[in-house]
């Protein structure tokens, strides 16, 4: 086939193109992911019984602020990485800010407590459940982010996959906050931060396979 025949074929009866589709689909995917996570976590694991006490609410807000900051950051990166060459315009450092902030807060928290409390503060009651739940629930929002990215044209598939994984992990954490009763900054830093990083690494590994076009 000659290229001019292909060009003629592609140019016959073209339709107008929706240039906002990429951003809209990514937003839709993350919003749907948040809705699903907010349903799955309470239904599968239950809502924490003391949710409306002051102490629980304070930690709920901290956990949500951490997770939402990451989701918002991941969304901005995904919108850029979705376009060819987009990876050349982003430095990955700003996304580390919420992680550094929570680690710093955790370190300050530990500083003011005797070392005998550290075990309890870091491991909490349910570290294993947190470690398993966040990545499991993350599969749904991750799939949504990958679906949206597949409609676009990322040219750095490792990074695009990593940010899809990051978004998936953080969206999942938003849902998990409704169930999680472990209220300590070191716990949030290690088990929320750690599992979200884990999801990011999984996304980076899967990106080239899932996003190729």
């Amino acid at each position: 086939m000659k290229t001019e025949d292909l060009v003629a074929f592609l140019s016959t009866n073209t339709e107008p193109v929706d240039r906002r589709a990429t951003t809209r689909k990514l937003s839709l995917a993350l919003a749907a992911g948040i809705a699903v996570a907010l349903v799955i976590a309470p239904v599968a694991l239950g809502v924490r019984p003391d949710l409306i006490t002051a102490r629980a609410l304070v930690f709920l807000v901290v956990k949500l602020a951490f997770a939402i900051a990451i989701v918002a950051g991941a969304w901005i990166y995904l919108v850029r990485l979705a376009r060819p060459g987009g990876e050349q315009k982003v430095s990955s450092f700003p996304i580390a800010v919420p992680f550094l902030a929570i680690v710093l807060l955790a370190a300050i928290g530990l500083w003011f407590e005797p070392t005998s409390h550290w075990d309890k503060m870091i491991l909490g009651d349910q570290w294993l459940e947190c470690l398993l739940s966040i990545p499991t629930i993350a599969i749904v929002p991750f799939a949504g982010a990958i679906w949206a990215m597949r409609q676009a044209a990322p040219t750095n598939l490792v990074r695009a996959g990593a940010f899809a994984g990051l978004a998936g992990g953080a969206v999942s954490a938003i849902g998990y906050t409704l169930h999680c009763t472990d209220d300590s900054l070191p716990f949030i830093a290690v088990w929320y931060g750690g599992t979200i990083v884990l999801c990011t690494l999984a996304g980076a590994a899967l990106g080239p396979r899932l996003l190729r076009w």
């Binding site: 290229t3 001019e4 060009v7 044209a153 076009w213």
Partner: protein
């Protein structure tokens, strides 16, 4: 290069609003540049003109299918170059050649001409079309090859007009996958 960028970008913006003539002029202009780009890149790997033409067509199809990802705030040259390079690396990976030899490039490198339009790729569009499911083949045949309107195609293929549009898009994507798989390694 600046005139090229300005001209091609103007064509791109008109083409995005659904203008077939601008779309044709754009793809034609870009394919000449992609030909020069791929020929010079593939020459380093001892690959010939026909393989370059295969890549030109893969890239043209990708540009067509992914044109909604172009952000008018950015130069068109950079967008085209990113796609061209992505397809080159994908091709080299697929054909098991080392990609460490692909040098860092300036986006302008995608803007030299090669007007040798008589080269044929190894793909046969009509033959590839036979491998598409009929619900995709029928509307593509009607709209893209016979130039019928979407409404006519809907009647002809007995599906709705929106199904015609969706199936054409899916069919072209499926063709892109078939083309990538066909590439001799």
């Amino acid at each position: 290069m600046t005139t090229t960028e300005t001209e091609l970008k103007a064509l791109m913006l008109t083409s995005l609003s659904g203008d077939a003539t601008a779309h044709r002029a754009l793809l034609d202009g870009l394919s000449r540049r992609l030909r020069a780009y791929y020929k010079s890149r593939l020459a380093r790997f001892g690959r010939g003109t026909i393989e370059a033409e295969d890549l030109v067509q893969e890239a043209v199809l990708a540009i067509h299918l992914k044109r909604h990802t172009y952000d008018p705030a950015e130069p068109l040259t950079a967008w085209v170059h990113a796609i061209a390079r992505y397809k080159l690396i994908d091709f080299l990976r697929r054909t098991r050649k080392s990609i460490s030899d692909v040098p860092i490039e300036e986006a302008d490198s995608v803007m030299a001409h090669d007007d040798n339009v008589d080269v044929e790729s190894t793909f046969d569009l009509r033959q590839l079309m036979q491998r598409l499911p009929v619900k995709m083949r029928c509307p593509i045949q009607a709209v893209k090859l016979e130039g019928r309107s979407v409404a006519e195609a809907a009647r002809l293929c007995s599906i709705s007009e929106s199904a015609v549009k969706v199936n054409i898009h899916r069919g072209l994507k499926a063709l892109a996958v078939l083309i990538a798989r066909e590439t001799p390694s």
